[in-house]
């Protein structure tokens, strides 16, 4: 396999946008192409991460539409759908295309337009990821699953509601420093702990918002990267693993085995260990997931992840900053865009282009994107290549 470099990236502001899905994807893609200095270049392939365009904006085959909008014709183009990990799956596909030698220059975009639909409609569509006969028809939603996982953690490991609130406070504070974040407002532990209950013990502030947005990256072989940039970022490892669909049938419902396996794969491929990572983006659709993912990825001992936020380890200036972007909690969660946006944030961090939220001199970064509720996980490890 060839070494693969990310040579440029870009994204739209996340939140409630005036533009439609194609506007968002086109804007993010052109920003990434400009950032890469690849405006004059011919692209071989385009991968578009998106979960619900057909259901939410009544448009299908969106990758064909994107290459038409931004004139990448006749590049190969396809949409990649893997639930809320559609973005990371698209990045993975782009990586494999370049690594295999099948493509030299690849655009990966991810986007979702969600805010025009009612919250009930979104919650229902997202709930259709659950098992159709033994979860969905019973009324199981993603917040319900996250709540049941949270309760297991509280009773088994001594997690308290306060820890969830502290993660929300951290991620809101990081989001305040991110001009692309959906939520740019500080919150307090007390404020978070007095927000409404969605699924006991989960309150509104322990869950991410519904957002519009798109993000994009440009990939090429490491060899070719020199033609474009002095600061290529190498994708040194990826992992992708699944688990049984229902939460109840997992070996241990408090363990995200797909995160464990995918992380181990990525670390093995990168010949690195968790201690080598300087900055992390997790899939905190619910704040409990930042804790569980950080443990099952190997950064903290099982059952001790919540102590990291308490001690400031995961703060911007801590030993292992997690979600400097604000995470899904504050940057927002346009589902198909999220996995790409995580990579965009980490590329900016590695290149020292993250502005006020810049982590001090990171060399290696780790991203975890979730394509279900713990039953499909895509991991990427990135490294400065200069």
């Amino acid at each position: 396999m060839r070494d693969v470099a990310i040579i440029g990236c870009g994204m739209t502001k996340f939140g409630r946008s005036q533009g439609d899905l194609m506007d968002l994807l086109a804007e993010a893609s052109l920003r990434a192409i400009d950032h890469a200095g690849a405006d004059e270049s011919d692209f071989d392939s385009v991968y578009v991460g998106n979960m619900m365009a057909g259901e939410l904006v009544h448009q299908t085959a969106i990758a064909s539409s994107l290459v038409d909008r931004i004139n990448l014709v006749p590049a190969a183009a396809e949409r990649v759908e893997n639930g809320p990990a559609s973005g990371a799956s698209a990045v993975k596909n782009g990586f494999l295309a370049v690594a295999s030698g099948a493509a030299d220059l690849v655009l990966v975009a991810g986007g979702e337009k969600m805010t025009e639909a009612d919250t009930d409609v979104i919650t229902d569509l997202v709930s259709t990821m659950t098992h159709p006969t033994v979860e969905y028809v019973h009324g199981v939603t993603l917040p319900a699953m996250a709540a049941m996982l949270t309760r297991l953690y509280m009773e088994r490991y001594g997690l308290s509601e306060r820890h969830l609130a502290m993660i929300a406070v951290k991620n809101h504070a990081n989001g305040m420093k991110n001009p692309y974040a959906h939520i740019q407002r500080l919150c307090t532990v007390e404020g978070a702990m007095s927000s409404g209950v969605i699924a006991d013990p989960i309150r509104l502030y322990y869950a991410c918002p519904i957002s519009d947005g798109a993000a994009a990256v440009v990939l090429c072989s490491m060899e070719k990267a020199k033609e474009f940039t002095d600061k290529p970022v190498r994708i040194v490892g990826f992992g992708h693993a699944t688990d049984v669909q229902t939460l109840q049938e997992r070996e241990d419902p408090a363990v995200l085995k797909s995160v464990q396996i995918a992380s181990q794969q990525a670390f093995r491929m990168a010949k690195l260990e968790p201690k080598d990572i300087d900055v992390v983006e997790t899939h905190d659709a619910f704040e409990i997931l930042e804790i569980v993912q950080s443990e099952d990825a190997g950064f903290f001992e099982k059952g001790k992840g919540h102590l990291a936020v308490e001690k400031g380890v995961t703060a911007l200036d801590g030993e292992l900053p997690i979600n400097p972007s604000g995470g899904l909690k504050a940057r927002g969660h346009p589902v198909g865009a999220t996995g790409v946006a995580q990579i965009v944030e980490l590329v900016w961090q590695l290149r020292g282009e993250a502005g006020e939220r810049q982590v001090k001199d990171p060399k290696r970064a780790f991203a975890c994107n979730f394509g279900g509720f713990g039953n499909n996980t895509v991991i990427h490890i990135l490294e400065r290549a200069w």
Partner: protein
């Protein structure tokens, strides 16, 4: 009338699963027989869901994961509004929700000591 909550036992290796898979999670066997999972299960975790889906009459919807004595677990609605981890529940057939005007039926879980006056809910297994 008592309805039996059933799982699926692999005819090759004997592993019992719920829900049904087309291949056994242990040995990839493809033949199964339906077996009862037992009359009682223990509550593993639960939530009171206030943001309820369509076709549920009133919040909160109480959902939980229960574990039968053989170790097989199931997720479902609980009929009690005072769930406690570890409490004993039994499967009961009932209406789950309405979906597009269609009524969906299935198993829910009710406390074993329901209706026994004076009994405390603290009488639950660990």
């Amino acid at each position: 009338m008592e309805q039996k909550f059933t799982g699926f036992k692999c005819k090759s290796c004997g592993r019992v699963m719920y829900p049904k898979h087309d291949r056994c999670l242990s040995c990839k066997g493809r033949e199964f027989e339906e077996v009862g999972l037992g009359k009682e299960a223990k509550l593993v975790t639960y939530t009171k869901l206030y943001a309820i889906p369509e076709g549920i009459e009133m919040p909160p919807l109480i959902l939980g994961i229960v574990e039968f004595s053989g170790g097989v677990r199931a997720m479902g609605q609980l009929t009690t509004d005072d769930p406690k981890t570890g409490m004993k529940l039994r499967p009961v057939w009932g209406k789950l929700r309405k979906m597009k005007d269609r009524e969906i039926f299935g198993f829910k879980f009710e406390p074993v000591n329901k209706g026994l006056k004076g009994k405390s809910v603290n009488e639950v297994g660990g």
